[in-house]
Symmetry: C2
Amino acid sequence: MANDGEIAVSNKQVILKDYVSGFPKETDMQVTTGTIKLKVPEGSTGVLVKNLYLSCDPYLIILMKKAQTSRYFISLTPGSSITGLGVAKVLDSGHSEFKKGDLVWGTTGWEEYSLIKTPDSLFKIHHTDVPLSYYTGILGMPGLTAYAGFYEICTPKKGEYVFISAASGAVGQLVGQFAKLMGCYVVGSAGTKEKVDLLKNKFGFDEAFNYKEEHDLDAALKRYFPEGIDIYFENVGGKMLDAVLLNMRLHGRIAVCGMISQYNLDQPEGVTNLLNIVYKCVRIEGFRVFDYYPKYSKFLDFILPHIREGEIKYVEDIAEGLESGPAALVGLFRGQNVGKQVVVVAKE
Amino acid sequence: MANDGEIAVSNKQVILKDYVSGFPKETDMQVTTGTIKLKVPEGSTGVLVKNLYLSCDPYLIILMKKAQTSRYFISLTPGSSITGLGVAKVLDSGHSEFKKGDLVWGTTGWEEYSLIKTPDSLFKIHHTDVPLSYYTGILGMPGLTAYAGFYEICTPKKGEYVFISAASGAVGQLVGQFAKLMGCYVVGSAGTKEKVDLLKNKFGFDEAFNYKEEHDLDAALKRYFPEGIDIYFENVGGKMLDAVLLNMRLHGRIAVCGMISQYNLDQPEGVTNLLNIVYKCVRIEGFRVFDYYPKYSKFLDFILPHIREGEIKYVEDIAEGLESGPAALVGLFRGQNVGKQVVVVAKE
């Protein structure tokens, strides 16, 4: 007999044990099993979903630390399951916009089933001729991040010199391909030979280098950008930013998507070359993708044909099973993932 | 008998002795006397001017150092007179747009008389009901800098929280008054009690503080900006920028006009709080006033009525005589000037 939702079922969860301090460890999280009824409570406008794919994103680590900037971030709650972005299937709905069987992406829990009490920020998935997992990446938040960050913040022009750090990651790989579509010269940095090969051979970057093999980042950038850099898509911060500043061109732009090298340091690295902002009229701009959610459907119209025609490549790193979540998330900060890091909870 | 220009006259000059290294000293410059004919050479399209007021600006020190970023700056030449902005009177002209007796402002030499070979960047002075020296400041490059930096780069809105460093200087005093005109809350920092009093009592800032008396700049900013800072007009860099970053609000803007605390350091201070760019979507933007020269006449239309009505105050620090130039310029970097530093070469 099918479960009609009145009987509680077991629900595996990834719990945040305590606030993370310093570098995140797998033991900051714990896989436990609770129970859940597969039905939205009476009178609730929430939805009850079965989670399929979970997204490992660097920003999660900010929420796993005790908030220092509480006005802007609401930290996760120790003892509760981690909350992040994912793809899910609606099993029951108290909300007029969602019905049983709908596929959605948006904020959900790191668990098998989630009751999403305020589903207003969920997006319904209408296109299923592409892998569902793509909605954690190229068709989801990281895709929109790359799109908004590159086209809106970087204000690119044909022929400009573009540098991308952490370039094989979920966002970087897309920014590089957008820049190539626009006719820019594109160089990426990454942390392994395998990733550098991906950048050059799969994603079509003009050049790529392994930053771990460069003891002088300034010299490396001068080698690849003898004319300087017009656009830097910043994912790492610290020493790389300092070297980039030395190589920016007049009226250069730096879109600050993230600074993954800095989140886990007790004391962030000092950046010493900011005078170049004055000398070269550089614009450095942080942004958050949430401000661009109203452009999501325009973004889909842009990106879907490119995916279907094979003009934009996309690489995922799939970890199987909720149990693999903590290692996959921690691995992001060691650069262990090759491409977008996804955790599969269930295939359907 | 009047000098018809054929007879060379003596010409006092301030010469750059050698490239400045580290903090500038008066002895980096030398006052000498050459000779000059008060006539434009046959066939030249230059103008021969008598210099009246010279402008002491922080950017000059960048040009007095050996260029490290030669693509963007052309250093001054040791052994030649210093070149900067000033107000002058045309004595002879080979250029169709200028005639004897015209008053002009623009790039000229630190000397009594200058032959300006390419006068294309000179502006003719049409309004002489205001002091001529104002064209080195509120009606010249610093005025346009404040105007472009505040209205174009800071994109201010009524009621926003505005902080200005080096706030009693040529640019800062104007930015603060523009921000008050717009209905912002405005706080400035300066380095003496006298300047702090000026900010509060003459320029109408809501609050002001002496940064030298604050051992914890972050705490000082939190005191004056419990809700955080929307707009920071950056004139100093280093520790102040680092403290400001901690206090920026979501979507805050930092217009980088200069970083006077950093130009003379062998190793600029490391700025460690750049993660706030990510957390709060901050935009930091350098700019150069030259890009806004086409808006100069629009700026004059805006500022002149405010000056005539007394709605905008302006304070100058006048040094008498070309001989006082080196001390006045070096004094900028010690904060010795109160208001815009001008050197009078001749009154007419």
